[in-house]
């Protein structure tokens, strides 16, 4: 028992050290551009975990999830840029971003309470597009979002007065900006993972699963399905709002085109490919789908030149081609996702045995 606990503790310390050293290893080995990719991957993991609450736990298909990311990002942009001349600190904006995104989650959830499956997907898809189009057009009559040009010169995240946008020297080591953001994103990702795990084990988590399985039976068990569903939308949106705020501070620029339908679908694919409702699977899905396209972007041109002497397919079309093939392959051979919950795997095996 004690040795088990010690083993777990040792494992956690080792993982902690590995995660702390990761930007140095990747930065030295592959260059700092790859640490930046890693930063984005962490943002996507947060998004995927947020969407997992709605889609994985509560079983509500949401195709407009990126709207909450947009809300968080624009809130940060408006409150910390020369656009309105406001320069709020990050510790005030992120919780506010989470709250506002949560409210948007309830706004989306309330009219869709009676919808399920395809119908819910269509409405949420519309919601995502509405938010994006608002961002695109709210530059007149009063200029709020600066329209398609987006908002630039956003303040970088500052922690204890240190801007994360500049290299920071400490303990004889130099931490470039992308490393600093890596540590910030890592800390928040770990927090999001922790909250996800706690939610899954909670009474509310069980209520979500019950609604996913059978809504009438859930009601018959005394679950207030309306509030519990709204809570799923709100909690999921909260994670998106935080990730959006971080994105705005990291990029120092936001524009509506970062929040298109393709992004929503990417995040959904992370959840589905990884393993719906299974937190480690969703993390894996997020990391894979954020990192592999970048690897392709860097690897496709030199590889084609080596193989054929010229570039036959540009990386962007190759990406969609391979992505589509990968999706089909996963759905055929691992329908429950790459790393599904043990019980889901059992269920699929049982179905096969029949």
């Amino acid at each position: 028992m004690i040795t088990d606990r010690r083993k777990a503790l040792l494992g956690m310390v080792l993982i902690g050290v590995a995660l702390a050293l990761l930007p140095f290893i990747i930065g030295k080995g592959l260059g700092n551009a790859w640490v930046r990719v890693l930063d984005f991957a962490l943002l996507y993991v947060m998004l995927a975990l947020g969407l997992n609450i709605v889609v994985g736990f509560a079983g509500l298909l949401d195709l407009g999830y990126i709207a909450f990311y947009a809300v968080g990002a624009y809130l940060y942009a408006l409150l910390a840029s020369p656009h309105f001349g406001l320069h709020w600190p990050v510790w005030a904006i992120l919780p506010l971003g989470a709250l506002v995104a949560g409210i948007f989650g309830v706004l989306l959830g309330a009219p869709t309470l009676r919808l399920r499956g395809d119908y819910l997907a269509i409405v949420t898809l519309g919601f995502g597009e509405i938010v994006r189009i608002f961002m695109n057009n709210l530059n007149a009559p009063i200029n709020i979002t600066n329209g398609p040009q987006g908002i630039s010169q956003i303040d970088p995240v500052r922690i204890a007065g240190v801007p994360l946008s500049k290299t920071f020297e400490a303990f004889g080591l130099s931490f470039p900006s992308v490393y600093l953001y890596y540590y910030l994103f890592l800390a928040l990702t770990l927090l999001v993972i922790f909250v996800s795990i706690r939610l899954e084990d909670s009474r509310i988590g069980r209520a979500w699963v019950a609604i996913r399985e059978d809504e009438i039976a859930a009601k018959a068990c005394g679950i207030d399905t309306r509030n519990v569903k709204l809570l799923a939308f709100a909690m999921g949106a909260t994670f998106g709002g935080v990730a959006g705020g971080l994105f705005a501070g990291f990029q120092e620029f936001v524009s509506p085109e970062s929040f298109g339908l393709m992004e929503s679908i990417m995040v959904l694919c992370m959840v589905v490919l990884g393993g719906m409702g299974h937190i480690p699977g969703v993390i894996l899905g997020g990391l894979l789908l954020a990192i592999l396209p970048e690897a392709l972007r860097h690897g496709a041109v030199p590889m084609q030149q080596a193989a054929f002497g010229k570039v036959l397919l540009d990386p962007e079309s190759l990406r969609m081609l391979l992505f589509g093939l990968a999706l089909i392959a996963v759905m055929l051979y691992r329908p429950a996702g790459l790393w599904p919950e043990a019980r889901r795997k059992r269920e699929f095996l049982a179905e096969k045995a029949k």
């Binding site: 699963v209 009438i216 018959a220 068990c221």
Partner: protein
């Protein structure tokens, strides 16, 4: 315990229940029989507040017409939905646990779980199995067991025999009778009129949205109209 007066339920413009009135006294087992589309399930759903309705529903002396569905279970009114409605991807034990969702008294819940396992030993054998992999009869047992975990005073059973093999139907009805023997009041909706009337103390016959006959179980079983229409004689 339950008084229903002039209950009307409609789906849009189509009215499915057209003014039914009936009573269920404490400790009784009452059945509601009738053909497909007579409005039996609709009535039960309205009682469980899953459908909006007009009229009066009094449960233990007060109106529940405008109570939300999820609040009723705390007052001891529990529905076993049609088609069983077990949580297929949860284990048997987790399903039973969901039945006690509204309760906080852990020690009592554990005692009730033992009681349910005592009543339905098959569930104990399969406690860690996914509910979706159980047979139809076992799923029906699980649905009843889950409802019992909420400590119902009045149990609404919607077609517990639906889609089950005759031997399983017998077993399910044995369970229902032992639940009734423990003092739980039961309102049973059934198409299997012969079986329902033979176990119920009283029965109501529903036909296209209204109640056409009401009597004791044995009297209805002997009634020539019932024999002709529902017992195939």
């Amino acid at each position: 315990m339950l008084e229903v007066r002039d209950l009307h339920v409609s789906y849009g413009n189509i009215s499915a229940v057209k003014g039914v009135s009936f009573d269920v006294a404490a400790g009784e087992m009452v059945c509601l029989i009738g053909a497909n589309g007579a409005g039996k399930t609709t009535t039960l759903k309205a009682l469980a507040r899953l459908l909006p309705a007009q009229g009066a529903i009094h449960y233990r002396g007060h109106s529940i017409l405008h109570r939300p569905a999820h609040a009723l279970i705390g007052e001891g009114l529990t529905l076993v939905p049609e088609g069983r409605g077990v949580f297929a991807r949860l284990t048997v034990a987790e399903n039973l646990d969901m039945g006690a969702y509204c309760r906080r008294d852990r020690a009592e819940i554990a005692a009730d779980l033992d009681r349910v396992y005592g009543l339905l030993p098959r569930l104990k054998e399969r406690a860690d199995q996914l509910a979706g992999t159980l047979s139809g009869g076992e799923q029906q047992m699980l649905a009843i067991g889950r409802a019992l975990m909420s400590r119902p005073k009045l149990l609404l059973l919607d077609e517990p025999s639906m889609g089950l093999a005759p031997i399983m139907v017998q077993k399910v009805f044995e369970v229902i009778q032992s639940v009734a023997a423990q003092g739980v009041t039961i309102l049973l909706v059934e198409q299997n009129a012969r079986l329902a009337l033979s176990v119920a103390s009283r029965g109501y016959v529903m036909e296209s949205g209204t109640i056409t006959l009401s009597d004791t179980g044995p009297a209805l079983l002997a009634n020539p109209k019932v024999r002709e229409a529902y017992l195939g004689e």
